[in-house]
């Protein structure tokens, strides 16, 4: 089972499985850079998956599926933003509520729409295509450049976000809001506006991640987000809020899941739940400081205006 080509397949699978994680984690990292910990992106992901399914089913268009998936995720994030920014509610609690609402209502809508027919939804499926020349490079080509459009989107997104964060004024302003909103406000930045945009960006990307989930598998299942929102949060921590390291951390998670598929498909009686457990344990180990200390944005998860004001 460990022939040379299966290593290539394995790594290719790792990247494919990492895609929804990396998209959601990149969005969440931007949200967290503004000082907001949104543990409700699970809700955005599942909403994105449902909206993408409905849109793709309606117009049989993958592109529209993606667009509406992102919008669905954004709408859920907007609910979170209203609570956190408009009402200054606690971020952890509002995030929990958002996740519960996302999972509950997508389930309810799905049941209302499809349960009566009892049939499985079949959607147009994302197909991989080869990038000319690059795709022909031995080993690397099949791993990196024979993938679906979302993978290539990630290749563009990672450097763009890095440049945005560390080389532009907007990026600096975003990071300042997350570090010390009082200082940022004094510099003429509207804290709530920046945080709103950051939450919305995180929601849109989480929705896109959900759209990928639905369109990659070609169907929608209740709770199909399967905790990926929470994993994305772990990935952001593991990637230390830096887009490049986040991509690496996401591939690590993807690889762990790919390993599990590999073992399962080999037909062995190896206990697969233990492999599913592995990435979580590894994240816990990583959080314990094995890869060096992580430094969160200083005002992460703190309310603004702060309660003392």
């Amino acid at each position: 089972m460990f022939e040379s080509f299966s290593i290539v397949v394995f790594l290719g699978t790792a990247i494919r499985l990492a895609v929804p994680l990396v998209i959601a984690a990149l969005g969440e990292s931007i949200t967290e850079r503004s000082g907001v910990l949104n543990i409700g992106i699970e809700g955005s992901i599942i909403a994105g998956a449902l909206c993408a399914s409905l849109a793709a089913l309606e117009w049989s268009s993958i592109f529209l599926g993606m667009v509406f998936g992102a919008i669905g995720g954004g709408l859920v994030a907007m609910v979170f933003a209203v609570f956190v920014l408009g009402l200054n509610a606690d971020q952890i609690i509002a995030g929990t509520a958002t996740t519960m609402a996302g999972l509950g209502f997508t389930g309810a809508i799905y049941q209302a729409r499809f349960a009566a027919t009892g049939s499985v939804i079949t959607l147009p499926v994302l197909r991989s295509f080869e990038i000319p020349y690059l795709g022909e490079v031995p080993i690397l080509g099949p791993i990196f450049f024979q993938q679906s459009i979302t993978v290539y989107f990630v290749y563009l997104l990672v450097p763009t976000l890095w440049y945005f964060l560390f080389r532009t004024s907007w990026g600096l302003e975003l990071r300042s809001v997350g570090e010390d909103p009082a200082v940022a406000e004094e510099s003429g930045i509207s804290i709530l506006f920046v945080r709103f945009l950051a939450i919305m960006f995180g929601g849109l990307l989480a929705g896109l991640a959900g759209a990928h989930l639905a369109l990659d598998s070609g169907t929608f299942i209740e709770n199909m987000s399967g905790g990926r929102g929470f994993i994305a949060i772990a990935i952001v921590v593991l990637g230390r809020w830096n887009p490049v390291s986040i991509a690496g951390a996401a591939i690590f998670f993807g690889a762990a899941s790919a390993l599990q598929f590999l073992f399962q498909s080999s037909g062995s009686d190896l206990p697969f739940p233990l492999f599913l457990m592995l990435p979580y344990l590894l994240t816990l180990i990583a959080l314990s400081g094995w890869f060096g200390r992580t430094k969160a944005p200083r005002s992460l998860a703190l309310p603004w205006p702060s309660k003392s004001r």
Binding site: R167, S169, L172, G188, K295
Partner: protein, 505 residues
């Protein structure tokens, strides 16, 4: 500025204040804490919108509602706590909120570097632009704050108590910067409550008291005594610490060492003896190991080396009243109870005797004259002075042997400050009702306010870079202690040893 008024709730911060300044002058704005100095300048720089009054620049009426309005008019302010982001570099901090005229969204790092060099040639101010703010000392941070302001090339520069965190040498540098700026035709507004500096440098002086202007003058027509009279209403008191009888040792630190979270040295080889009936003053610029020393002395943390001898119960007045001393959402009773959780008299096994505690708290409220609706009022709703009284009431009970106080009078008005020191003198056994044989406590006063230490302490030490240096109180001048606070490399500490400095006993 004409007839500016501002109320915060029922409290009047500014009442019909007029304030005028001219290009090329250094204008000192003085007054006690809470006199309205900072509020007035926040109005000018757009951080506070006044209830009434108007502002004119060069004769033209201006409406300043936000900091960016003020910026457009050429007003800039260097704040008491520099508004910088610790996790970012100097360069990033300089770029925040200032695009340096570039239209695009890319950070103008090259432009800023060039401008910084120009500024260095002109003013001598310089800071390595790639350093993280969190690695800089407080004085260096202030320089970054000043650089940030100068890069905007403002007409009016407001400095809010810039010298309170600086050692004398750094103050001198700042004063020469002021002079250079005024020579360039800028207006420098200097907020302070240190009168010597005011007389030394100002072209004009405005004194605020309780939100009103009580005096406008020039240095030639006044002196420290007169100013303090109009400022406070009475002359600055003489040294209250006419030393009393000193008793047995209550606390002793021997070659104590403390490390920071990253293993860096915070305290090195600290030796200190505190005896009953004496107040030990520890001066120094904040961030030289004060927090660690205070926590070791109060038994909150164990040293990473050396031995510590402490009494069983120690009173501790921390630096940060809202954060470390009190729980804002809790009532007075519960905040006092924080000091009673381990007290057998207020407990029955694991249970707290709330009835007894509340009775005791009511007694304290009367004894200390705490102004509150009842013993359950949330402390966040109390005034600063009353909050400090709650802390004092709680901590004095544990101070039979030893009290550690860190910047205890910060932010208190004159009345509250003198109340505090009356309590201190009583604790030392120096009030007139008691004779020296009664139970006396030892006090350690850790403060960045050198005046306060010189006025009250019996023994004086300077904490510099984690080392504790003893100072001979009789010989030491303020300038000498100031120099120690800033001593630089250890070689210099050794060299000044001859003129009155000896290692702690």
């Amino acid at each position: 500025m004409e007839r500016v008024s501002k109320n915060f709730g029922r409290k009047t911060a500014l009442n019909n204040v007029g304030f005028t300044s001219f290009p090329g002058e250094i204008h000192s704005l003085i007054g006690e804490n809470g006199a309205g100095k900072t509020t007035l300048m926040k109005v000018l720089s757009g951080l506070v919108v006044p209830d009434r009054g108007n502002i004119r620049f060069k004769g033209k009426e201006a409406s300043i509602l936000t900091p960016s309005d003020a910026r457009k008019e050429g007003v800039g302010m260097v704040h008491q706590e520099s508004l910088l982001i610790p996790a970012h570099t100097v360069l990033e901090n300089l770029c925040l909120g200032n695009r340096f005229g570039s239209k695009g969204n890319v950070l103008p790092y090259r432009k800023v570097r060039i401008k910084l060099e120009e500024l260095r040639d002109k003013t001598g101010l310089w800071m390595k632009e790639d350093k993280l703010i969190e690695d800089l000392s407080i004085g260096e941070r202030q320089k970054v704050g000043i650089l940030k302001l100068l890069l905007r090339d403002p007409e009016i520069l407001i400095f809010d108590e810039p010298t309170s965190i600086l050692a004398p040498q750094e103050v001198a540098d700042l004063m020469s910067l002021f002079r250079r700026l005024s020579r360039d035709g800028k207006t420098v507004i200097f907020i302070t409550h240190k009168l010597n500096e005011v007389i030394e440098i100002s072209d004009r002086i405005t004194v605020l008291k309780q939100g009103q202007v009580v005096c406008r003058t020039i240095p030639e027509e006044t002196d420290v005594k007169k100013l303090s009279k109009v400022m406070i209403g009475e002359e600055v008191g003489a040294n209250l610490a006419n030393s009393g009888p000193v008793g047995a040792t209550v606390a002793k630190l021997t070659s104590v060492k403390a490390l920071g979270v990253l293993g860096e040295k915070k305290l090195m080889d600290v030796n200190l003896v505190v005896r009953r009936g004496e107040m030990v003053g520890i001066a120094g610029v904040e961030g030289n190991g004060q927090k660690e020393l205070a926590e070791i002395l109060s038994g909150l943390r164990r040293p990473d080396g050396g031995t510590v001898q402490l009494p069983r119960e120690i009173g501790f007045i921390p630096d940060d009243r809202g954060g470390e001393a009190l729980i804002g959402s809790f009532g007075i009773s519960e905040n006092v109870a924080l000091g009673l959780v381990k007290d057998a008299r207020f407990r029955w096994g694991p249970a707290m005797l709330w009835g007894k505690i509340e009775h005791y708290v009511r007694e304290l409220i009367t004894r200390y004259g705490i102004i509150a609706t009842n013993h359950q009022q949330k402390v966040a709703e109390l005034s600063g002075g009353n909050q400090q009284k709650v802390v004092l009431a709680r901590e004095l009970k544990r101070s039979q042997d030893l009290l550690i106080a860190r910047n205890p009078t910060q932010g208190l008005d004159v009345k509250a400050t003198s109340f505090f020191y009356k309590q201190m003198m009583q604790l030392l056994g120096r009030d007139f009702q008691r004779d020296g044989t009664e139970q006396q406590a030892g006090i350690v006063l850790i403060s960045s306010d050198l005046e306060e230490i010189l006025m009250f302490a019996d023994e004086i030490y300077v904490l510099y870079n984690g080392g504790l240096l003893g100072v001979n109180k009789c010989k030491a001048s303020k300038e000498f202690i100031g120099r120690l606070m800033l001593a630089g490399e250890s070689g210099r500490v050794m060299s000044v040893k001859g003129d009155g400095c000896h290692e702690g006993p």
